[in-house]
Subunit: 319 residues, 2 copies
Amino acid sequence: MELITQEVLAGNRRALARALTIVEDGGPEASTLVRQLFSHSGRAHLIGVTGSPGVGKSTLVDALVTEIRKEGLKVGVLAVDPTSPFTGGAILGDRIRMQEHTLDRNVFIRSMANRGHAGGTALATYDAVRMLEAFGYEIVIIETVGVGQSELAIAQTADTTVLVLMPGSGDEIQAIKSGIMEIGDLFVVNKGDQLGASKTASEVIHSLELAHLPTSWRPPVLISIAETGDGMPEVWNAVKEHRQYLDQTGMLKERRKAKVQAELEELVAEMARTNLKASLEQSHIQDLLGQVLSREVDPHSAAEELMQELFGNEQQKIS
Amino acid sequence: MELITQEVLAGNRRALARALTIVEDGGPEASTLVRQLFSHSGRAHLIGVTGSPGVGKSTLVDALVTEIRKEGLKVGVLAVDPTSPFTGGAILGDRIRMQEHTLDRNVFIRSMANRGHAGGTALATYDAVRMLEAFGYEIVIIETVGVGQSELAIAQTADTTVLVLMPGSGDEIQAIKSGIMEIGDLFVVNKGDQLGASKTASEVIHSLELAHLPTSWRPPVLISIAETGDGMPEVWNAVKEHRQYLDQTGMLKERRKAKVQAELEELVAEMARTNLKASLEQSHIQDLLGQVLSREVDPHSAAEELMQELFGNEQQKIS
């Protein structure tokens, strides 16, 4: 592990790929790697990009990478794709579009499989970002598919969250009204050459006016055609303006503190989960499961018993 | 709490509404209620309905309720809607379509807000189902918006999971190929009067043929027009056939055992999370947070220290 750490810091791309696989898998190896590289992380600006399937997120990320490269900045991309709880494979198809960047050594693109449950995937994302930062990437883009709760949580591991829509995204506008999309720092109506793009943008602006935004930042609403690059310089500029806002208001520190807090909560939850999983085969835990199934013990009481069992004092152990 | 329990069992709809609010909020009150009503739960067949925004899930659920009512069965519907981490309000708009059932005392429809993180929402769903079962509903439909990881997890709290698509749902078919939609026990291409419905159905069938399905159940792929009720008797029949399959193969018991296991894991994780949140303001925990922010301590080491602190033996406590 010491070797991988050194190689990542030395700029070895293969070592980085290996490090990403390790943190994706989680477990003690991942923890060791994070411990060794943590002091080299925290340097990049993190951009989260999310939106419903079909709005053109990947194309937009691709075009954004092109903009960022014009300034000579090194970019890492993590695409967190939906995967099966059974097969664990990531959708790699649309990553093929990013081929134009594959020869650029200052761009690194990685599709990440998720860990089967939302919390675990968010944790893997935090750690994967650290690997990219330790390697030297100055901008990291975290792309998530879908606008579900966990996907938004993953996008929120970023400093700046970009929500991508397309003309006629009525459901998303509904979501803005209801508040789910308040977390966007920047809204982009992509496929801007399609009918109704400016109408959709106006609707977003209107919804945002009605929303109770948590800070004084007014999210810009932009129109882009990622396919041709139209509007992309404006998107990149808006990201930079948001970064400036975060720096000037002290919000960056505040956000990062909130993220550390969220990560620690998730890590503690994950440890409890892992601990239980490791003990599941024990006969008295199987007995308890059986009692819940036969409705003799309710799940809440069973969970309390398990917590006591897994983490309580020695004297209080049931076994 | 004892009173609410009695009133729910006596069939008081107001008490049921109150009970649902309590389990939605979580905490000790919810646990008490679950303890009191748990022995009366587990009786209903649970149907999960999920799919991307715009495929017509709500209309389909509405039409399914109509089918189920024809057989005189009592139906409860839980619609888990996306909500803001800030405002906490649920999208109620499309529930208005269900008005035709509002005068039917044997139908109960409830929009549930989510709890801000995926695990918590799944837990609230388990408990809300129990309230509906204790009240006497024989079928409970759990509708979730979106096909994100957490939304699928919520749909999977059901016995039978129905995945709703519409003509041209290319991204979803991609998702089936990659495995995320393997969890569907039944696929419905809704809006069957739109162009390409049978092509989409064929694509789903083809994708399922290529997928490694976890059981011997071959998920039926149906076409419906929920708006007019076309194809809905077939959907309801397929649900019943799936229930029969689950009963005959012993899979129902197996699935319910797996669900109890998943719920206990989530409850234990939630307890760890709650414990940490309750202690966050303590100065030495704030110090630890500060050390992570200044990169003196990495998050994995900090989480281990916190676990020891929160659940370790008295002697090992830091404070």
